[in-house]
């Protein structure tokens, strides 16, 4: 009887488990038609593309940068695996509205119409340094790209033709040699055409504008001037708190595991002596909650935390290293490559890439090299082209000289020894 009940309970639990698995992984999530904001926002390094489902009421953007706003109708579903709402753009992607209004309090401070825009990638789609262009410039950039692409395809066409001619000429050349006739010069292989290194997106239409730091209300109006339901949201345009220089630090002993030193209060400790390679970045400090929400409105963040964000590599700087107010060295950025030690044992050497000796070699990384001496303390600062020390670029470097904490543990009993001495002297003195 008892055994039968046990089997029944186990069977119910197993069935429940299996059914719940079906619910989570097997069923297609229900989709709902919603009016959503779809943005392209500048995050300090590139443009992120967040979307705001109907249940999220606050939009976060970076102040004083142009951002792209679109309002669309799409199908929204909840995806339990990543615990977020997703948009099914393939099924429905309808651009709506006519005018976007921005209000400060009750006062309308900006009215925006859709404009043409493109994203321009000067070093290719994955190369970074993305630019946003609107209006005539956007159209000109697109034209420039189309022209470059058109020229490329024409060059490709010409290349294949030239390559056919080249193959024929090579055959002819060898034929003449075999026949013992004068063959002349060996035919030259045609050069492959270079595809455009830059990329421009198709022209799209959206509301593009920047806002100073502040809290606003945003809403969409249709052609009749009526507010489109579900489009009234809060908008927070935030800025950074501080600017500075952050460092990626590549220790020579483990070059694939760099550390970061983003704040002036951070001290870099090196065990005894060693070589460090510094990669400076310009950085801005943001509120963690605001910055996280910027690229992913459904993510969490802490309003009481601040994070430094590396914006771009600091160019045209040198690093000055001081000890006790005296300049020890002034370091410039150099390319380095990693050479594995020959044989089966593990190990590598990091070497300076000398362009004269090795003109075709490629660098594994570039950085500012500093060999930390075994003692002392060092102050590192980034100096700009005009000789000024860049604010918040200072870091201290200290070699740790102690191998264990034995002496520290012993020293911790110092107060007790002092107390006992005082106690004994008082007792003896009585």
């Amino acid at each position: 009887m008892k055994r039968g009940r046990f089997i029944l309970i186990v069977s119910i639990l197993l069935a429940g488990l299996l059914l719940s698995s079906v619910v989570v992984f097997g069923a297609a999530p229900p989709k709902q038609r919603e009016t959503v904001y779809s943005l392209n926002v500048w995050d300090g390094k590139d443009f992120a593309s967040p979307f705001y489902p109907a249940n999220i009421n606050t939009i976060y953007v970076m102040a004083d940068f142009q951002n792209v706003y679109s309002v669309k109708e799409t199908l929204v579903y909840y995806w339990p695996i990543s615990r977020e709402y997703m948009a099914d753009w393939d099924s429905l992607n309808k651009d709506i509205g006519d005018t976007l209004e921005v209000l400060k309090g009750d006062k309308v401070i900006g009215t925006y119409k859709k404009v043409d825009y493109v994203f321009y990638y000067p070093k290719g789609y994955w190369g970074g340094d993305t630019k946003l262009y609107t209006g005539d410039v956007a159209r000109a950039k697109k034209k420039e790209y189309d022209k470059a692409l058109d020229k490329y395809w024409k060059d490709v066409d010409a290349y294949y033709k030239a390559y056919n001619e080249y193959n024929k000429a090579v055959d002819e050349f060898y034929k003449k040699i075999q026949e013992g006739k004068p063959a002349g010069k060996i035919p030259q292989e045609p050069k492959q055409p270079q595809a455009p290194t830059f990329y421009v997106t198709d022209i799209n239409k959206a509301y593009v504008f920047s806002l100073p730091a502040g809290i606003y209300t945003i809403r969409l109006k249709d052609k009749d001037g009526k507010i489109v339901p579900g489009t009234v949201k809060s908008l927070i345009a935030f800025s950074h708190r501080r600017e500075g220089i952050g460092y990626n630090i590549i220790p020579e002993s483990k070059w694939t595991y760099p550390e970061t030193a983003d704040d002036v209060t951070q001290i870099i400790y090196q065990y005894k002596e060693g070589v460090l390679y510094f990669q400076p970045f310009t950085e801005w400090e943001f509120n963690e909650l605001q910055y996280n929400k910027l690229s992913n409105p459904q993510s969490a963040g802490r309003p009481d935390r601040w994070i430094w964000v590396h914006m771009q590599p600091a160019s045209n700087v040198k690093l000055d290293i001081y000890t006790g107010g005296r300049l020890v060295t002034s370091v410039r950025e150099r390319p380095y490559y990693v050479e594995q030690v020959p044989g089966s044992s593990l190990g590598y050497n990091i070497k300076l890439l000398d362009r004269k000796e090795n003109p075709y070699g490629s660098a594994d990384f570039t950085g500012f090299r500093f060999s930390v001496p075994p003692t002392g303390d060092y102050r590192l600062v980034a100096v700009s082209k005009d000789g000024k020390v860049i604010e918040n670029s200072e870091r201290y470097i200290r070699p740790i000289t102690s191998g264990d904490a034995k002496n520290i543990f012993i020293a911790s009993f110092g107060p007790l020894v002092i107390g006992l001495l005082i106690y004994i002297f008082r007792r003896v003195g009585r």
């Binding site: 065990y271 460090l276 740790i400 107060p415 107390g419």
Partner: protein
């Protein structure tokens, strides 16, 4: 002599008596040793980390061991405060004192100032130890240490005033110590809980846990106004950020906390009386 001079004289006399007793006793030195010993473990972990990784990047490395050392020192101060009045009440010596030129305010102020002096002696010993540790390891000794120590005096003041209030409220030494440990342990526990919550990544938590975390964060936000430890933690953050306004805000916050509790202690002692129960 007017009443103010009498009061000042009696305050001085009580402080002198209490300070002598603390200085020649072992309690103060044991507290300093525990504070240094606790800090040693953190120094040890630093050395192990930098030895294992060859590199370590850290902001104000002395602040973390100092935080724990200050907590130990402040707990010692507060425990001696929490027993100060109840012990004298229990022995009947408090009543005797009131036959002389002593009033409620002067006895409480004297006990409070003596506790601060004891705390300063503990911190002096702790600082000597920190200087030794910083020099032998080359971790470095920065001005932020002194800022933190200065702020720690205000933490000790808050905790001492809290201890005195408990002492005035209770008649038995055991009750006041237990009550103090319970409340301060709760505050400290909540503070560590908050720090633990901050390390969790919400994306890795279930929805119900995120909800619980949110509720807990809001409770902690309210409670931290009553916890002296939060003034120290926020003050340490202010030192790290170089924010003078935040530093002053925490300093003034704990000062107001201290004044409020000292006044409350005077009224509580008046209400409860000084006679042996």
């Amino acid at each position: 002599m007017n009443s103010f001079v009498y009061r000042l004289h009696s305050i001085k006399a009580i402080i002198k008596r209490e300070a002598r007793s603390s200085f020649f006793g072992l309690g103060l030195y044991i507290a300093a040793t525990i504070a240094c010993f606790v800090a040693s473990f953190i120094f040890n972990s630093y050395i192990n980390t930098v030895q294992g990784n060859n590199i370590m990047v850290m902001a104000s490395p002395l602040n973390n061991p100092l935080f724990y050392a200050v907590i130990v020192a402040a707990l010692y101060t507060a425990i001696s405060s929490s027993t100060a009045l109840s012990r004298e009440k229990d022995k009947g010596t408090l009543e005797v004192l009131f036959y002389g030129p002593v009033d409620y305010a002067s006895i409480i102020l004297a006990k409070f100032l003596e506790d601060i002096i004891s705390f300063l002696i503990v911190m002096l010993l702790v600082t000597l130890f920190f200087v030794y540790a910083a020099v032998t390891t080359n971790l470095g000794f920065s001005i932020t240490y002194l800022y933190t120590v200065f702020l720690a005096i205000f933490l000790a003041a808050s905790m001492s005033s809290f201890g005195l209030w408990l002492s005035a409220l209770t008649t038995k030494i055991r009750t006041s110590i237990l009550l103090f440990i319970l409340i301060m342990g709760g505050f400290l526990g909540l503070q560590f809980l908050e720090e633990y919550i901050l390390t969790l990544k919400p994306e890795n938590l279930s929805l119900s846990m995120i909800y619980i975390m949110g509720v807990l964060s809001n409770i902690l936000r309210i409670i931290k106004w009553a916890s002296p430890f939060s003034y120290l933690t926020n003050g340490i953050s202010a030192v790290a950020l170089g924010s003078t306004s935040l530093y002053l805000e925490n300093m003034l916050g704990s000062l107001a906390y201290t004044v409020l509790l000292l006044v409350l202690t005077v009224y509580t002692l008046k209400w409860k009386g000084v006679r042996k129960p």
